[in-house]
Amino acid sequence: MTASAREIWLGRGILMFVMIITLVPFITLFVTALHEPGTYPSGLTLPDKYHWDNFVLAFQSADMGKMLVSSVLIELGVVPIALVISTLAGFALGHLKVPFRRTLLVVFVLGLTLPFEGIIVPLYFQIRDYGFLNTQWAIILPLIGLFMPFAVMWMSAHFMNMPQELTEAARVDGANTWQLFWRVHVPLSRPAIASLAILLFLWTWNQFLLAIVLVDDPTKRTMAGALGAFQGQWGTDVPLLCAGSLLILTPVLIVFLVFQRQFVAALLQGAVKG
């Protein structure tokens, strides 16, 4: 049964409208970034002269090289460790019949909806006592902990669906638990682990609250945290602020466009499981 032509055009029209609304802020940001620094361009107007050097200027004056290094360091600290320990825990809780399985799952589920604001105050004092304030560790360590409820639930949901025949066959062949995990289950779990990696990368890059509370120096923060500091610095220089924002957006956008298919799938599944 085919839909009537009128309905199809209505569908196209709505889709077009939503896409335009979504894109307009990006376009405004881009156009404004090309205006003369220090001016206050009104709305969406093309500049008389295109100031492409604004991007260079923003990069240099915000010390963006350092910010980029800091963000990458934080990503490297968070994502691999979080992946490894949540895969281990997810395997044990999802596939093996460990004692207290149900209790442990409930403990992790409890943290699933926890707002970061709910623990940020004591976390500040805790990180201060450890001597990590104003270092990348202040973001890395708590973030790994905060990702655990989602990551462990994600991996254990995945391992629950792995066929038991597989495990039985490996056991018959004499595999111990470690071999079963490392040789059989991990290689078969690559898609689930990759999706989780994408989500964790994104959430780390965009993490803001931890960055502004625990790290004063913008060059030691995540990119989102650094962007927050920009606004105070350049609140009056709109073109430079826009150029800086675009520079910070670009890496995520590139990663998104490259891994688009996995991204959309991961985010939708992440929404469903979260």
């Binding site: 019949k97 004692p99 403990v107 926890l114 707002p115 409820p149 965009n206 803001f208 609250l209």
Partner: protein, 308 residues
């Protein structure tokens, strides 16, 4: 690996998990995750509850005040106001995107696998991918006195409507809400679409044979079938409203006055600027409970009748 028969006996015949072998040694695999979670989430969570019963400036000696911080939470308008604001934001962060998402998805579903449907997936996910801070910066600029929105209004001859949207007491909260709606609408729409593609086309044909029009078809076939996705979209977006922080920190800092102050921002101000650690913690506990209180019933509702 030791094969404990005891754990089998304790766990009983769990048919969904017939893997009977790893006992306590398997538990070792959970330890690293539990350690990080315990030290950096559960411990501060317990400390938040503890702090909430004290009067403390973060430096001197803390004084036990019992439930006083909670009483102030319920009686001081300055502390109730942020919670009420968060509830108002639900309209913009959740209800509007979800309704719009459902209706738009129902219409788009008919487009099938066209190029445009594919392109829309990429475009509509952009707001979900970028930092919320960036969304805040973009929209602050759009809604500024000289921004695009006023430019359009002036162009349409509606000059009397133009204003500093984020700086006006009457419009600041809805304006912040619009930013949240912009972020959430694409996700809602795609979630609904994902739900709708799972519907058996035979159901639609049956409905058509019974003489159902588009509207009746929507209410009797589509809506019941996407109930799980609908529940998920509502839960995620309601949480995003209650714990909103980034967008508001960037666009209004809670102002003008306290008209866009939300619990997350108030916790931040109380703890790190006014040095009222106890009061901030009480609000943090309240926010955590509030999120749970909203999510748990919604979660149950969305699972009911979904057939699983």
């Amino acid at each position: 690996m030791t094969r404990t028969t005891r754990s089998d006996a304790v766990a009983g015949p769990d048919l969904s998990h017939p893997e009977p072998r790893a006992g306590l040694p398997g538990l070792v695999l959970v330890v690293p995750a539990l350690l990080f979670y315990g030290v950096f989430v559960l411990r501060p969570l317990a400390a938040t509850v503890q702090y909430s019963f004290y009067d403390w400036d973060g430096i001197g000696v803390a004084a036990w005040v019992g439930v006083e911080n909670y009483i102030r939470l319920l009686t001081d308008p300055e502390l109730i106001n942020p919670i009420l604001n968060a509830f108002q934001l639900i309209l913009y962060f959740s209800i509007i995107p979800v309704i719009f998402g459902v209706v738009a998805a129902a219409i788009i579903r008919r487009l099938g696998q066209s190029k445009m449907a594919f392109a829309s997936r990429t475009v509509l996910f952009l707001p979900q991918v970028i930092p919320l801070v960036a969304a805040g910066i973009m929209w602050t600029w759009l809604m500024a006195t000289d921004g695009l929105i006023n430019q359009i209004l002036n162009g349409l001859g509606l000059d009397f409507l133009s204003r500093a949207w984020l700086g006006d007491f009457d419009t600041a909260l809805p304006a912040v809400g619009v930013i949240g709606a912009w972020v959430n609408v694409g996700l809602c729409m795609l979630l609904m679409l994902a739900g709708m593609t799972k519907i058996d086309p035979a159901l639609y044909e049956a409905a058509r044979l019974d003489g159902a029009g588009s509207i009746r078809e929507f209410f009797s076939v589509t809506l019941p079938a996407i109930r799980p996705e609908l529940g998920i979209a509502v839960i995620i977006t309601v949480i995003s409203a209650l714990r909103s922080f980034d967008i508001i920190y960037i666009s209004t800092q809670g102002g003008p006055g306290n008209s866009t102050l939300v619990p997350g921002l108030e916790i931040y101000y109380l703890a790190f600027f006014e040095r009222e650690i106890g009061q901030a913690s009480a609000l943090a506990v309240a926010l955590t409970i509030l999120v749970l209180a909203v999510v748990l019933p919604l979660n149950r509702l969305s699972r009911m009748g979904s057939g699983s």
